[in-house]
Symmetry: C2
Subunit: 140 residues, 2 copies
Amino acid sequence: MAGDISIGELSRRAGVKVTTIRFYEGAGLMPAPPRSEGDRRLYDAGHVRRLSFIRHARELGFEMEDLRTLLELSDRPGGSCGPVDEIAGRHLAAVEDKIAKLTALKGELSRMLATCSHGAVAECRVIEALADHSHCGGEH
Amino acid sequence: MAGDISIGELSRRAGVKVTTIRFYEGAGLMPAPPRSEGDRRLYDAGHVRRLSFIRHARELGFEMEDLRTLLELSDRPGGSCGPVDEIAGRHLAAVEDKIAKLTALKGELSRMLATCSHGAVAECRVIEALADHSHCGGEH
DNA sequence: GTTGCATCCTATAGTCACTGTAGGAGCAAG
DNA sequence: CTTGCTCCTACAGTGACTATAGGATGCAAC
């Protein structure tokens, strides 16, 4: 099981930068692995799996705090997956919310650009739209 | 023109926190205003307009660096609004890109949750999907 | 055996856009 | 005069890293 993978090799296999791996170790997401005589970190296949899990979850936008819980749960396969669903569900809702906000934003930006006559700043619709916050829900 | 607005009043009028206003001053987005005898900042209607502009642009996701350029341009109304369009266009593209990514993400999260049987962690599809990065474009 | 280079080590500071806290001073009302 | 709010500066903390400095190690070529 101990294939003795260096941090650089782990980095390549999981697609996570070396410095980020060390950062994850300090943050408690990755365990402190055994060391070689020359004080270098020695990883194995289990570490590759764990780091890939972390990478994927981070790409999906899960926060490190969520990750801590998720990793803890996946380490104890006997427990209920209710908390996992809860975290994923909460995250899904946040993603949907963000999509809605960005879509509204896209509309506003497109409209700004479409109505701009591309002349002088004085008549620029973009600047005007940014200065005018009458229709952006600014509570005075 | 000098209505002598306190930082708290400016905060309420523009919808930006007091601490954030001071931060913007340090960051060069807001000018250092005149002070009262007791060393308090004294703002006027122009400051309210400028801060509202900043707030709106920030809400639309423009970065402070973009804001610096945008503010500089809006201060010189005679110039061409080409750079403004360029910044807004670049930002619109970034927003569209983000929407696309989040939509894909939403699909993956929904699928994960839908296929989970809500039993033990051992059979949890969510954990499994996170551990398996075969279909997430992970190079190697 | 030594030279040279890639990789590794720790520790610290910087990023962005703020937010929070500590420890005071100013000011208006009761 | 005291209470309580607003204001002041200065600095530390957030999240999730990234970058840099200044070495030590390991391995292959010469």
